[in-house]
Structure formats: C-alpha cells, structure tokens
C-alpha cells in the first residue's frame, strides 16, 4: 500500500536522485518496499550502483537483491543485455536457485520466446509444484500473449487453491473489468474488500463496478461505497466525490416520478459538490469553471 506521506517521500527521493543527489540506495529500497513500477529509473540508478564496485561492496548481502531488482527492471525496459548480465551474475552466486530460474523465464518472456519460457516454468514447477510466483508468471504469460480467457482460467485454477491471495483476486478483477464482465468483477472486488477492508481503493473500485452495472439497487449500493471511500480517505479522493454526484443524479433519473426517498442523500450530494469545488479551487484554480459547468450540466440533464 502506498500511503500519502510515502508517496511524497518517494517523489522527493526520485527528484533528488534524478538531479544527481545522493540517496540512490534509499530510493531503490523505497521502490522495492512500496512495489511501485519505476523500471526505467531503477534500471538507470541501480546500474550506477552496480557498476561502482566500491558502492556495490558496501551493500554486502543486499547486493544480490539489487541485482534481482535491476534484472527485472531491465527486462521491463527491454534492455535484455543488461538483464542477461545480471542474471548471469546471480546464477554464479546462486546456482540452482528457483528464484534465478524464474528470472531466466522472465527474460525468455521478454524476448517473446513463449514456448521456451513455458518450458522453463514447467520444469521449475516440477521441482516445487506449489510455487505461487511461478503459477502467477504462467498466468501473466497467457495474458501477455493476448489469451485472456486462458489467463482467466489459470487464475481461477490458481485461486481455487490459493484463495487468500488478494493480489490474484485483484488481477482477476481487473481482467474481468477489461472484458466488461462486471458481475464477476464485483465478486472479486467483494473478495478484496473482505481481505483488506480498510483499503479505500477497493471500495472505490467496487463502487465503480456497481455504478457501471446500473439499476436502482446497484446505484444505491455504489453510492454507499463511494461514501465509504470518502470516509476512509477523509474526502480527499476526487473520484469518489464525482461518484457520489453521478450516483445521485442517476438515481434521481431512475426514481423520477416515484416518491422521493430520504432527503439526506441529496445533502451528501451537495456536500460532495462543494468539496469538489473547494478542492479544485485549491489545486487547479483554472479548471474551476469547467467543474461548475460540468456539475451544472449534470443537474440539468
């Protein structure tokens, strides 16, 4: 989870590192800890440490972690030579390691040699059929090839055993959303809310899915989840504020003519609109007019 203060810290360090300041290692550690994907930066700065033998030896045992991190970043940036060299160094240090074997498989994936990568992963799985990460690699390989239905099938099989793995649930939810299978996605997001009930972004994503599904009942639920997101983020999530407005309007359209429901909901809506206006004034003053126009339009239609 990336917290607000952690994000600030990350951006500060990134700025500092990009401008040639110190703290490269701290930056790389933070990237690893927060699990953000900054492959180009990691590659550049990680290499600068690895190529400097003095700095490298200072890391001690952490050196190999850095090699792995840089290797993955290099694969992600298609710098396959660098990745190959890193993996070679790791292989020398840890022969017969499954983790290094996985990196090799990823290198094959990046080259587009799907059959070879598949073979590599299969042989690793023979060694230890319960290696979660390799199962995940196989699934993402199917996704990378554009074979989404195979990826879904693989994920379902994977989740049948490792059903407490929320990363996999999240991946499945995102795939379902990309395929517009919102009902299935909603189930996955419920699962995510269950395993991490304090993460507002799961509530938000669930609300989005429900709003997209439509219907009075779903919209009402979606509005509640937007409200939960607002509560958990202290009203600092713009998307949730917009969500409240949109839900209220959609509900108003659907229940037009019927007896008006509780008055409180309309209050939440106006509050959200005011909060949005305030936020825009503070952060993007030149777009306030756009916002008022949009909100006005929404009310009219």
């Amino acid at each position: 989870m990336v917290g607000a203060s952690e994000e600030v810290e990350l951006n500060r360090l990134e700025n500092q590192v990009d401008n040639g300041g110190g703290g490269v290692w701290e930056y790389l550690c933070l990237v690893r800890k927060l699990k953000v994907r900054r492959s180009d930066k990691v590659l550049k700065h990680g290499l600068s440490i690895l190529n400097d033998s003095k700095k490298r030896s200072k890391l001690g045992g952490e050196e190999w972690t850095l090699y792995e991190q840089v290797a993955v970043a290099a694969i992600d940036c298609q710098c396959l030579d660098v990745a190959k060299d890193c993996i070679k160094a790791l292989q020398k240090q840890f022969p017969e390691s499954r983790r290094v074997g996985r990196l090799e498989g990823m290198l094959l994936e990046a080259k587009g040699l799907w059959a070879d990568a598949e073979k590599a992963y299969s042989s690793l799985l023979e060694d230890n059929p319960l290696d979660q990460v390799i199962h995940k690699r196989k699934i993402s390989m199917a996704k990378a090839q554009g074979n989404v239905s195979a990826a879904i099938e693989g994920l379902n099989k994977y989740l049948d055993i490792y059903m407490a793995d929320h990363d996999a649930w999240r991946e499945l939810a995102e795939i379902y959303v990309s395929l517009q299978l919102y009902r299935q996605a909603a189930f996955c997001y419920e699962e995510l809310i269950l395993s991490q009930p304090t993460v507002p972004l799961h509530h938000l994503a669930y609300a989005d899915v429900l709003y997209t599904l439509g219907g009075v009942e779903n919209l009402q639920i979606a509005k509640k989840y937007y409200a939960a997101t607002i509560d958990l983020t202290g009203g600092k999530n713009t998307r949730a504020l917009y969500g409240i407005c949109l839900c209220t309007i959609a509900l108003g359209q659907l229940t037009k003519g019927r007896n008006k429901e509780d008055k409180e909901s309309s209050e939440l809506h106006s509050l959200a609109a005011t909060a949005l206006g305030k936020d825009y004034k503070y952060r993007a003053p030149d777009k306030v007019s756009l916002l008022t126009a949009t909100l006005g339009n929404l009310k009219l239609s």
């Binding site: 059929p129 269950l194 939440l268």
Partner: protein, 246 residues
C-alpha cells in the same frame, strides 16, 4: 533449620560453572544439528488449500459487515452448506494423525529425527552428570523456599535436614535444561529458541487435525449475524465532508 553450609569454591569452579557452560554449548550444538537434519518438507496441496480456506473464511467473518447482505449470504452458503461447502468436512474422511503417520513414512522419519536430536544428547548429558556430579550440593539460592521444592531442587540428595534453598548438582542440571530458553533466544535469535519444554509441547500437539479448524470456522460462520455497515458510512462521509468544507 540447619546451620549454614560452607561450600567449597572448587565446587563453583569445577561443577557449577562447567555444568552451565556445557548445557549452553549442548543447546547450541543441538540447534545446529537439528538445522542440518531438518528436511525441507513440501506441503501437500490439500493442506495448503485448507489453510487458505481457513484464512479466507476468517477474512469473511472479520469483514462481513463491509459487503452487502446478499453477497454475504451467498458466500456463507458457499462455505458452509452441508453438501459440498468448502468448510464442510464429511464425517469419517477426517484422517486421524496416527493413521496419517503410518501411511506416510516421511512423517515418521521426521519425527524420528526430531526425537533423535532431542533424546540422545539429553540422555548422554544426564548420564554424564549422574556419573560425575551426583550427590552433592552445588549452589544455594538467595531466598528461602518451602519443603515442596525439595524434590525439585535437591534431586539426588536424600537428606531432609538440609535447607531447601541449597541446590544439588543434578537439580542444577535440570534447572539449566529447562531454564536456558532466554539465553538461547539471545544467542540464536528470537525465533530459534526452542528449549526442551517447548519441544515436548510440540511433540504432543503434533499432527493437529486440520479438519477441526475447518469445523470451528464453519461453526463461527454459522452463528455470525450480518449487519451491513455501509449505511452508517453515508452519515460518516457527510460528517467528514462537512468538516472538510468548513
């Protein structure tokens, strides 16, 4: 009460300190030996799955109020229906650990290894202590104790007239055997400190029945009252926004 005994300083130098040092060294040695012999066991897929089911059901129980009632009901049915629910363990299928052990020679082997690393050094040191240091007073603890502690502290001395605060050498061995856990946790790191008492506990609790935890999870899921928490969140969000606007 008997008069104060005078203990020879040679006892301190040749019994008390060597005994303690030897016990510590044996503990460390045993740690490394058991580390060498530990076989990396690959858990069975079924056991992994059962563990994951329990985790997921626990998540459901803990956060049930965060999902709509309909979703909760369908999940509960999925977990605990009587035909093929995830948490439902058919009667008779629950293996008892004994049978499991006999069917799986690896498991028996593992237990043997554990036993070996525990029992052999223990018997050897006990024999050694018995042979060399039996039958005399080795130390005195600085506070009085009641008679009940006599069998604990004066093992090997059959004199009822000696004050209970004197410790016999064999009892000193036992005290060390069971009391060095704190020291091991300092030397070997927090999680590696397993003294014999703990080991024995592990032995007795060996092969805990996984179906039991499934059943317990099912029961607590069955009695769970679902009360959707989200309607409250609307009011809370309102309060938050009011504060924000102010």
């Amino acid at each position: 009460m008997a008069e104060d005994l005078v203990l020879d300083t040679a006892i301190r130098d040749w019994v008390l300190i060597p005994l303690s040092v030897v016990m510590v060294l044996i503990g460390i040695l045993r740690y490394f030996v058991s580390k060498l012999m530990r076989s990396s066991q690959t858990p069975d897929a079924k056991i992994v799955k059962e563990g994951q089911i329990v985790v997921r059901a626990r998540n459901l129980r803990a956060a049930a109020n965060f999902i709509p009632a309909k979703s909760f009901r369908s999940r509960r049915a999925y977990y605990s229906n009587e035909e093929n629910g995830l948490l439902h363990v058919p009667k008779g299928q629950a293996q008892n650990p004994q049978a499991q052990m006999f069917s799986d020679p690896n498991m028996a082997m593992d237990m043997m290894k554990k036993n070996l690393s525990m029992i052999i050094p223990q018997t050897l040191t006990f024999a050694w202590v018995n042979f060399f240091f039996s039958g005399f007073v080795a130390a005195k603890i600085p506070f009085p104790l009641t008679q009940r502690f006599r069998s604990m502290l004066q093992n090997g001395i059959d004199l009822s007239s000696v004050d209970v605060s004197y410790v016999s050498s064999r009892s000193w061995y036992f005290l060390n055997l069971f009391g060095l856990r704190g020291l091991f946790s300092l030397i070997l790191g927090e999680e590696n400190a397993t003294d014999d008492t703990q080991r024995m506990m592990q032995m007795s609790g060996f092969g805990m029945d996984p179906s039991k935890s499934l059943g317990a999870e099912k029961d607590s899921l069955d009695i769970l009252q679902h009360e959707w928490a989200l309607p409250k969140f609307e009011q809370r969000a309102e309060a938050v926004l009011r504060k924000l606007i102010k």
